[in-house]
C-alpha cells in the first residue's frame, strides 16, 4: 500500500507532471506566473482544491452515481461539485482568513475553470483509484502544479530583462521557456520506482 502510494505521489509530481507532460492547467500556469508570490499562492490554492475535490468526488461517484447507473452524468456532476467547492472555499476564506483571500483575489474563482482540477477527478475515476489513492493523487498532482508554476515564475521574473525578438515578445517567449522546462522534466520520464 505504502509503495503504491509513493509511486502515485512521485509519478504525479515528477514523471507525469500535470503541466509539463499532461498539459492540464495551462491557462492559470501562463496567466498567474508573472511573480513568484502570486504563483505560489495560486499553486497552494490549486493543491488544496485538487485534494478536496478528489476527496469529495470519490464518495459521490462510488455511492451515488455507480449504484444508480448514472455514470454518464459524471462530467456534469463533477464540474458542479468543483464549482460549489470553490465557492465555499471562497466564502470560508473571506470570513476566516481575509489576508489570504485578498492575496488570491480574482484567481480563486478561476480555479473552477482550471482543467487540472476536473482532470484529476476524471483520472481518478478512469484509473479506478480507491479513496486514499485518489486523495494522494489529487494532493500530489497539485504539488506538481505548484512546483511547475513556481519554477516557471522564477524564470519568468528574470525574463523581463532579456532582449527578445519583437514577434516573440510576451506570450511566445513564455511558451518557449515552458517548453525548455518541459524538456528538463522529460528527464524524469525514465524514472522507474520499484520496478
Amino acid at each position: 500500500m505504502g509503495v503504491e502510494l509513493l509511486t502515485i505521489a512521485l509519478g504525479a509530481i515528477l514523471v507525469n507532471n500535470f503541466i509539463f507532460s499532461q498539459f492540464l492547467g495551462i491557462c492559470p500556469f501562463m496567466g498567474v506566473s508573472k511573480s513568484t508570490d502570486t504563483a505560489s499562492g495560486m499553486g497552494l490554492a490549486v493543491t488544496f482544491v485538487m485534494g478536496l475535490a478528489s476527496a469529495v468526488c470519490w464518495p459521490i461517484n462510488h455511492f451515488i452515481l455507480e449504484p444508480n447507473g448514472l455514470v454518464f452524468m459524471q462530467t456534469i456532476v463533477y464540474i458542479l461539485v468543483i464549482a460549489s467547492l470553490v465557492q465555499f472555499i471562497e466564502m470560508f476564506l473571506q470570513k476566516s482568513m481575509p489576508s489570504l483571500y485578498t492575496a488570491l483575489g480574482v484567481y480563486l474563482p478561476l480555479i473552477t475553470t482550471n482543467c487540472a482540477v476536473l482532470g484529476v477527478v476524471l483520472q481518478n475515476t478512469q484509473n479506478s483509484y480507491g479513496f486514499v489513492s485518489s486523495v494522494v493523487y489529487g494532493v500530489t498532482g497539485g504539488l506538481g502544479f505548484l512546483l511547475a508554476i513556481y519554477l516557471f515564475a522564477a524564470v519568468r521574473e528574470k525574463l523581463e530583462f532579456a532582449e527578445v525578438p519583437k514577434s516573440f515578445e510576451g506570450f511566445p517567449i513564455a511558451l518557449v521557456t515552458a517548453g525548455l522546462l518541459a524538456l528538463s522534466f522529460m528527464g524524469f520520464s525514465g524514472l522507474k520506482i520499484f520496478g
Partner: protein
C-alpha cells in the same frame, strides 16, 4: 453584426487560440496527429455552436448572479452528448483524445464566448460566432498537427490517409522525436503565436506610417 467581420474576427484578428490565448491545454496536448486535431476541432466547433445558440436563447431568463453556473451546466450537457456520441461511433478518436473530451467543459473558449458574446447578442449572431470561433480553433489545431507530425515523425495525415498510417515523407529516424513530445507542443505553439503577432503587427505599422506621412 455582419458575417464577414465575424468570419475575419474568428479566424484572424480575434482568433481564440493565437490572439485571445484561450483553451491552450487541448491545443498542445492532442495535436500529435491530423486525425486527432480535426476530430477535436470539430467536436469543439459543434459544442461551441450549440451552447452559443442555447445560451443566447436563454440569456433573458438566466439570472445575472448565477450565470456562470448556468453556462457551465449547458456546456457540460453538450459535452456529455458529444462524448457519448464519439464513444459510440468513433471509438478510435474517443480513446486518442481520452480525458480531453470531457475537459472541453472547462475549455475557456466556450465559457469565454458565452460570457463575452452570447450573453449580449442574439441567437443568429451567436450561432455564427460559434461556427467562426470554432473554425479559428480548428485551423490552429490543424496547423499545429501538420507541423508537429512532419517534424516529429516525418509523416503527414496520420490516422486518416494511407489506411491510418499517414504518408511517410522522410524516414522516422531523421525526425526530431521531441516535436511529438510535450516540448514540441510548447515550441510549436510559441512559433505559431509569434508568427501571428508578426503578421498582425504588419498592417498596423503600415497604417501608422501612412498617418505620419499624412501629418
Amino acid at each position: 453584426m455582419n458575417l464577414k467581420q465575424q468570419f475575419k474576427e474568428g479566424l484572424i484578428t480575434q482568433n481564440p487560440v493565437t490572439v485571445q490565448l484561450l483553451g491552450m491545454c487541448s491545443v498542445m496536448a492532442i495535436t500529435t496527429s491530423l486525425f486527432n486535431g480535426i476530430g477535436m476541432g470539430l467536436s469543439v466547433l459543434v459544442i461551441l455552436t450549440l451552447s452559443n445558440i442555447f445560451i443566447a436563447a436563454l440569456r433573458k431568463i438566466i439570472p445575472n448572479k448565477i450565470r456562470i453556473a448556468c453556462f457551465i451546466v449547458v456546456i457540460a450537457t453538450f459535452v456529455t452528448v458529444v462524448d457519448l456520441l464519439l464513444q459510440a461511433y468513433i471509438p478510435d478518436l474517443a480513446t486518442n483524445l481520452g480525458v480531453f473530451i470531457p475537459l472541453i467543459v472547462v475549455n475557456c473558449i466556450i465559457l469565454g464566448r458565452a460570457e463575452g458574446f452570447c450573453y449580449k447578442n442574439g441567437v443568429a449572431a451567436s450561432a455564427a460566432d460559434g461556427v467562426f470561433q470554432g473554425l479559428g480553433y480548428t485551423v490552429i489545431l490543424i496547423v499545429m498537427c501538420v507541423v508537429r507530425e512532419l517534424l516529429g515523425k516525418g509523416a503527414f495525415g496520420g490516422g486518416i490517409l494511407n489506411g491510418g498510417d499517414g504518408i511517410q515523407l522522410f524516414p522516422t529516424h531523421f525526425a526530431a522525436l521531441g516535436m511529438a513530445l510535450p516540448v514540441g507542443g510548447f515550441l510549436t505553439l510559441a512559433c505559431v503565436i509569434a508568427a501571428m503577432q508578426y503578421f498582425l503587427s504588419k498592417p498596423k505599422k503600415k497604417s501608422e506610417e501612412k498617418e505620419e506621412v499624412a501629418k
